[in-house]
Symmetry: C2
Subunit: 431 residues, 2 copies
């Protein structure tokens, strides 16, 4: 199994010829000899499958089959699964390919976040590899960096901007001052956001990717259920403007970090300092900060979605599979992947940004500050800004470091007041 | 050769127990079982060697030998070369280890920049691997990212802050307004710079690292001689202050980029926009920007030197070697590494920052602008700043895009004037 010895062609079957699948076929066609040279053997597509054979794609569909499941039983050395979805055909195809001792390369974060451990077991049992660089942060080689690079001193935290749609919306909201709903509508019109944007803006897609990065970073089985998820739908232009006044920017982060011998794993909007690496990830880009213990912090950024960046990650996995590398799927033998020992995230301590929309009547501020004091929350700074007469007033506070559950207790009491409009907004500060 | 099948211990010999070697021994001692689990076999240090056995290092030196060359002939599966130097013992050890069919892991950029192609040939001939993640950008897994990650669409450019000493000095000069000489002296006192700082501040160390990154990115044999090298010794506090006025920051960059079918490869100070990724690499950190063709730009940053980050890179290589991966040394078979087809760097087009120190007498500015016009250099913006009477005046210009040789021709003519003090300063703007 060395790339130095002469070997036959490495036979590739691709299921799914959408944006990514098409990109893979195009890149292999454009740079086949160079990629074959890197792989140590000829890379050859022997089968493809997709929903419709006749769709204009501008690529060669030699080896077409209507039933993707046949690809798992043919002559392929690797099956590239780009169908998507955590169940159904995608899952059947991956399981069947592994059982038939074929390597699998996939971009399917949902499948791996849900069935990752079982699929890793299956791959190892059959002596093949299951690779998924494209499933998290697109073109950024972060899976490889965590699985193979930053391993010597352990990982204390991973913080990632993992969803380009959310980051695009937040960046646009900041630069234009427009509302979430407005910017989302424009993003949908431009094709940057799905018709049903829930999975993106609700944080679910970020959670899928985070589950995979957590697994590799901490040696645990992916556990999507153990992620508290909050999206960006409730972020207002006010929040973004106030953040800027305090020298911060709002980003949707997937965060996994050690708390003692447990792991805290969350998806939520966070305030990051304007000059920090994460704050400077703009538009549809992705970025990941890894705190690698004694080795220090490392930062990775680039395009996290789209045809060429995602195809780039898929092709890197194909070339590696062709070279004969059989490193464990999540960096450690599947049998050794521990059940994630979830920390109580509500104990996590942070400074918090709080925004209240209140009626401009006497005693409101006194009532809010009393509830905060009762819950043990102390205030570091505050802005109250008048509006047109009759309109609600925004009161914004930054707290000293406080556990999440204490702030939530205060907000619950405050929210019960008929002087406070809407749900108070609460965003942790990444300091 | 898979990590799934049971295998015996992977036997490690380490030559050189300085900062990095000590860090490797410590990390393997601290996290042996986890790292062995990742490698798929037990990692075991069976031999060590260094200049003095009795130096206090706080580590176990079981398996000591006075002669490092014996490590190449013993039972080790991998020899870790951390002696340094492009010739002498380090070279003999690496050659002997490879010839004896032992894997080699090294942090030795000078050795590889000079003899990389021959050593890659030797490794492949003997069916072993030669790994060097630690040789460029320390803990940042950039060798892996270029060799295995960003391969699908080719690389158009690599731009790196690869020397922490230079970046520390430039960062300090900016924050304190002090001179290069002052900051260097302080850095030496603190141990951040060598007693003889030439290799760092003169750009030579950056050139060594760039030679390796160029090779992996472009599929060429490392060619240190084909790098035009300029250091930071001539950068003045004035340059840094003017850069800031224009919204730029000065960084020492190693740059390799395609120019047609040739490669332009240079080390020089450059102006980078204050909000760019590279500008925000502060202090002793390193950062690398890779323009990966259609896949877009990717950025990597983190600690580029020091015990833990460098040991982290060495250990990643050891674990990979233990797993049996035999990927080509520079990403492609050694025999296919082309001779670097060097572009004429003086044809490279850029905007330029120019600073002249002139006597405040009539006609100086007219003379300078005439020489620039004669060479075809047009000016986009200019600052002339008065000083105390009798002191030279600084004239600073930003040019429109112009080829380097044209600007140099004008500066040569201008420099001949007895009204111009010292050598004019010329720094390209990375736009």
């Amino acid at each position: 199994m060395t790339s130095h010895s002469p070997k036959g062609a490495f036979k590739i079957a691709i299921a799914g010829l959408g944006t990514v699948g098409g990109g893979v076929v195009k890149a292999l066609a454009a740079r086949g000899p160079e990629l074959s040279s890197r792989a140590g053997r000829k890379l050859e597509i022997i089968g493809v499958s997709a929903r419709s054979k006749n769709k204009a794609r501008g690529i060669d569909v030699a080896g077409w089959t209507d039933d993707p499941l046949t690809l798992a039983k043919g002559d392929a050395d690797v099956v590239v699964e780009l169908i998507g979805g955590e169940e159904g055909i995608a899952r059947q195809l991956v399981e069947s390919a592994l059982a038939n001792k074929k390597h699998v390369v996939t971009a399917n974060k949902a499948l791996l976040a849900k069935h990752g451990k079982a699929l890793a077991d299956l791959a190892e049992k059959n002596g093949v590899t299951l690779k998924f660089e494209a499933a998290a942060a697109g073109g950024i080689p972060i899976v490889k960096a965590l699985r193979e690079g930053l391993i010597a001193h352990g990982v204390d935290a991973v913080k990632g901007i993992l969803n380009g749609t959310c980051n695009y919306i937040l960046t646009e909201m900041e630069s234009s001052g427009r509302s979430f709903a407005d910017v989302l509508k424009e993003a949908q019109a431009k094709g940057y956001a799905e018709a049903d944007p829930t999975l993106d803006v609700g944080g679910g897609d970020t959670a899928h990717k985070l589950a995979l990065l957590t697994s590799i970073a901490f040696g645990t089985a992916p556990d999507l259920g153990a992620i508290a998820v909050e999206g960006i739908e409730h972020i207002s232009p006010d929040d973004i403007a106030f953040a800027s006044e305090f020298g911060f920017r709002i980003k949707l982060l997937g965060v996994a970090k050690r708390m003692g011998n447990k792991i805290d794993q969350k998806v939520h909007p966070a305030m990051v300092r304007v000059r920090s690496s994460l704050a400077n990830v703009s538009g549809a880009a992705n970025g990941v900060l890894v705190d690698a213990g004694e080795a220090g912090s490392f930062f990775f950024s680039g395009r996290g979605a789209g045809e060429a960046p995602t195809a780039s990650a898929v092709i890197a996995d194909i070339v590696e599979a062709a070279g004969g590398t059989l490193s464990p799927v999540f960096g450690r033998p599947a049998a050794s992947l521990a059940k994630l020992n979830l920390a109580d995230g509500k104990q996590a301590v942070s400074s918090w940004y709080l925004r209240f929309e209140v009626l401009d009547v006497p005693g409101v501020l006194a009532s809010i500050t009393r509830h905060l004091a009762d819950a043990g929350v102390s205030i570091e700074s505050m802005i109250q800004r008048g509006r047109a007469p009759g309109e609600p007033v925004a009161i914004v506070m930054i707290t000293h470091e406080t556990a999440q559950h204490e702030v939530e207790r205060a907000l619950k009491a405050i929210g019960a007041s008929d002087k406070v409009r809407a749900r108070p907004c609460m965003i942790p500060m990444e300091l």
